[in-house]
């Protein structure tokens, strides 16, 4: 099995995730795209772990999974709050940070 397989798959997923982050209006969808990105990173980590035959890559992948879970929890809570306050989760309507 070639290393490039995993790595290219991860890269493609990453790029798709990036596109999602940029293109999606719905905040929940943006979070989903971020999950895609995180998973692609995990794929990379596992691939490198395999390459070096060491458990550290696995450990880091697990870290990322845990952090992702936390991130999703907090992110969705924020989305809920925004929804409650503004009755919408369309990101392009949120421009409080406009300079």
């Amino acid at each position: 099995m070639y290393a490039v397989n995993f790595l290219i798959l991860a890269a493609v997923l990453f790029s798709i995730g990036v596109f999602g982050v940029i293109a999606r209006r719905n905040a929940v969808m943006v979070l989903m795209s971020i999950e895609l990105i995180l998973n692609s990173v995990n794929l990379n980590l596992i691939a490198f772990a395999m390459m070096n035959n060491s458990p550290e890559g696995h450990v880091f992948a697990l870290y990322v999974i845990a952090v992702a879970a936390a991130e999703v929890g907090v992110g969705l809570a924020m989305v809920l709050m925004i929804y409650r306050n503004r009755r919408s989760i369309a990101l392009d309507e949120l421009s409080v940070m406009k300079g």
Binding site: V18, V21, I22, R25, V30, L91, D92, L94, G99
Partner: protein, 808 residues
């Protein structure tokens, strides 16, 4: 073995205490004076008294030392002391046969620089001893006098503090071991004169006079600083080689006479130092501060003008005489800088004294004129007569000033105006009048009074040393002095009483003289007089009366000395004590380190050469000697070998005749002008144009004050200073401001002309540009997360690509 046999003693060794005690006294007066029963005056008097006691002790020990040097030395040609003295009057060239008397020099490290250590200490020789005694004595009398004269003044304590510090300053200068110590004392005196002349500073005139005095002297001080610098670097290498340094008075003296000194260095150093003397001693053309300084209280004037302050300039020349002697080629030429200034001063000041109405100003100009005599004396090589004149002049001038003070205090109700408020006081104030007469006689140079012995010696030596022109100048002065003094005496003590002297009371003079400070003066005054019973009518009648004892006692003492002091050195009577004790002997002295540290280990740093006197045989009896030929190998000279004119009554005759002529002529004219008789002189100035011109010129003091105040000082204080400041604000500062403004303009230009979307790259220095750049970038900050994401990832991608490309 002279160094070992010279007698010394506690007083001589510890003469440095003499200035220190008044200095400490000053601190005590400032700190505790107001709480003392006598408001601090007792501290001043006691401290000066102790100094006086030490000075007296030191004087006796010095005399002893001189005697032991002359008597105990094998080298002394005169054998034992008595025999030496007996043959002295016939030894025409003075100090030739006398022995060298090692000064008592001590020094402690004061500061160091460049690895050299400079000292603070004492240099006690005859000149220093003479002035120490003089200064402490006169200060003591003046302080006693002042307790009465300024009693009740609101700044009584400060007055005594300043007076004490003033004496301390003079004493520091007198026993200065080196030039810096001399400057220290010199400047302390300047400061105190500022405080004392401006004592009644509520009046602007007084504070201006104080400022003028300080400032004029300060102008001269430029010369002192520059001269010290020149001499220091001239002398330092030579002096260090010989165990001293370029500040040490002994080092400088020996270097100047060593023959290795550069003539031009000596000349320019001498000129610079002499400028300082001109400022301090009120010589022409910087004499103008002296009469104005009469704004101070009278005891101050008397102290300033008799033994301190103004004498400092003369002292400086006398102290560093070798520098001037060699630098100005004294005795080799018929004219030099010192004689010119001294000669001009004698005449110019004496002429001014004729037109003064203020009695103190007459005395002030007479002081200037007498200082001219002293300078002239130094200039013509008559060192000893000049110094002797300092000595005698101090007594009679002090008496005269104190007498004037006594008159204003008790006779003319605080006025000093002879024409308005005096006249006929001889009967009312007999003691004051008598002491005044005696002192005047001394000042005029009437034979058998002290002034005669000193002034006549100067005149005589001017001729003896070949300064014929200045001999005549001095004779003219000898005529003028009695003339103006007779005028002043006549106006004050004879004729009809006028104004306050006649008992009239007018507030004008009162206010002028003492200002606001005097309001409580009077109150206290009455209390003081109650103590004396006889004068309790002061507040009620204000009639002239004799002054209380604290004023008259110093007067009497001084007037006795005005006669007696002259006999210390009266060649007419064969006395020459003063010469023996004071004059440094101009002989070669062998350098010998062995004796350098013999008189105490404290004399470590900066002490000079140990010395023993070289044998007389080295002179071979020739006319050459110190100051005329270079000292032989291994020896140094500390003073030029000066000769003295031999006194004879016939040589003294011209001046005696002129003195009496002056008195008679003046008395005649005065009675003519001020008296009742009709006389050709009455109204002379209004009738006769040249006389009027001269009178106007004199009244305006030769317009020198105009020149200084209205032209030079005014120019610097106003147009020039303003111009400089204008340059500062409008040119230098404008450059800075314009650079700033230009920077801003450039920024604006860049901002306007460079596309705003690119501006963020070229961040303008001004905050404005940054803010505008922010506005330009505002659209990017949409607040939309997606856009941020796009930017973030886009930028990251671009960055990654760049990195990759770079690393390929």
């Amino acid at each position: 073995m002279l160094g070992a046999t010279l007698s010394s003693g506690w007083f001589l060794e510890n003469a440095w205490l003499i200035p220190l005690i008044p200095a400490i006294g000053f601190v005590f007066i400032i700190l505790f004076g107001k709480k003392m029963p006598q408001n601090g005056s007792e501290i001043g008097i006691v401290s000066i008294g102790i100094s006086l006691a030490i000075s007296i002790g030191a004087t006796f020990q010095w005399i002893d030392r001189v005697n032991s040097a002359s008597g105990g030395s094998d080298y002394a040609s005169g054998g034992f002391f008595g025999a030496f003295r007996a043959i002295f009057p016939t030894a025409a060239d003075g100090g030739y046969g006398a022995s060298f008397v090692e000064p008592v020099v001590r020094s402690w490290t004061w500061w160091q620089s460049g690895g050299l250590e400079f000292g603070l200490g004492q240099h006690i020789d005859g000149l220093a001893i003479m002035l120490l005694l003089l200064v402490t004595f006169i200060s003591f009398l003046v302080q006693i006098y002042s307790t009465e004269y300024v009693s009740g003044d609101r700044r009584y304590t400060h007055f005594f503090a300043s007076l004490t510090l003033f004496s301390a300053g003079m004493l520091v200068m007198v026993l200065a071991e080196n030039m810096l110590q001399l400057i220290l004392g010199w400047e302390i005196m300047g400061l105190c004169s500022f405080m004392l002349i401006g004592h009644w500073w509520e009046e602007e005139a007084n504070s201006r006079a104080a400022l003028k005095a300080f400032f004029t002297v300060r102008v001269g001080d430029v010369g002192l600083l520059v001269g010290t610098a020149i001499i220091f670097f001239g002398a330092n290498d030579w002096a260090v080689e010989h165990g001293s340094n370029g500040f040490s008075i002994r080092g400088i003296s020996a270097w100047a006479l060593s023959g290795e000194a550069s003539q031009s260095v000596l000349f320019w150093g001498g000129v610079a130092l002499f400028i300082a003397s001109i400022g301090k001693s009120g010589q022409f053309p910087l004499h103008t501060w002296l009469p104005d300084a009469m704004a101070g209280p009278t005891p101050v004037s008397s102290l300033l003008h008799s033994s301190t302050m103004v004498v400092a300039g003369v002292f400086l020349v006398a102290r560093l005489y070798p520098v001037f002697f060699v630098g100005f080629d004294i005795l080799d030429t018929t004219v030099n800088f010192i004689t010119i200034i001294g000669g001009i001063t004698i005449i110019v000041a004496a002429a001014l004294a004729f037109v003064q109405d203020d009695i103190k100003k007459v005395l002030a100009y007479s002081t200037v004129s007498q200082l001219g005599y002293m300078m002239l004396g130094l200039g013509v090589g008559a060192w000893l007569p000049a110094v002797f004149h300092i000595f005698t002049h101090a007594f009679f001038k002090c008496a005269l000033f104190l007498g004037a003070g006594s008159i204003s205090h008790s006779g003319s109700h605080h006025s000093f105006d002879m024409k308005k408020d005096m006249g006929g006081l001889a009967k009312k104030m007999p003691i004051t009048a008598a002491t005044w007469m005696v002192s005047t006689a001394a000042l005029c140079g009437i034979p058998f009074f002290s002034g005669f012995f000193s002034k006549d010696e100067i005149i005589d030596n001017a001729s003896h040393n070949g300064y014929q022109f200045f001999y005549y100048v001095a004779l003219v002065g000898a005529f003028m002095t009695p003339a103006y003094m007779t005028r002043a005496t006549y106006l004050t003590f004879f004729g009809k009483p006028r104004g306050a002297a006649a008992g009239e009371h007018h507030d004008e003079g009162h206010d002028d003289a003492h200002g606001a400070a005097h309001a409580d003066h009077d109150d206290h005054h009455d209390d003081a007089h109650d103590d004396h019973g006889a004068h309790d009518d002061h507040g009620a009648h204000h009639g002239p009366h004799e002054s209380p004892w604290r004023i008259t006692a110093p007067l009497i003492v001084l007037s006795i000395l005005a006669i007696g002091s002259g006999y210390l050195n009266a060649p007419a009577f064969g006395t020459h004590y003063f010469t023996d004790w004071v004059e440094p002997v101009g002989v070669e002295v062998a350098l010998d380190d062995e004796y350098g540290h013999s008189s105490g280990e404290e004399e470590s740093a900066g002490i000079v050469f140990a010395a023993v006197q070289a044998g007389d045989e080295e002179y071979d009896g020739k006319a050459k000697g110190c100051g005329f030929a270079d000292p032989s190998e291994g020896t140094v000279c500390y003073a030029p070998k000066l000769s003295h004119a031999v006194f004879s009554w016939s040589k003294a005759m011209p001046s005696i005749i002129l003195v009496f002529a002056g008195i008679l002529f003046s008395a005649w004219v005065c009675m003519g002008i001020y008296g009742d008789r009709r006389n050709p002189f009455a109204g002379l100035t209004s009738k006769f144009a040249p006389a009027r011109w001269i009178h106007t010129l004199l009244v305006n003091k030769y317009y020198l004050d105009h020149l200084y105040e209205k032209v030079i000082v005014f120019a610097f204080a106003h147009p020039i200073a303003r111009a400089a400041y204008w340059v500062n604000q409008n040119i230098l500062d404008a450059i800075v401001n314009n650079v700033g403004r230009g920077g801003r303009r450039t920024g604006e230009w860049v901002y306007r002309n460079v596309d705003q979307r690119v501006v963020d790259g070229a961040v303008n220095a001004s905050g404005l540009a940054a803010s505008e750049g922010g506005h330009a970038l505002q659209p990017v900050q949409s607040g939309k997360v997606n856009q941020y994401g796009a930017l973030l990832f886009g930028a990251a991608t671009v960055g990654a690509i760049v990195l990759i490309l770079v690393n390929i």
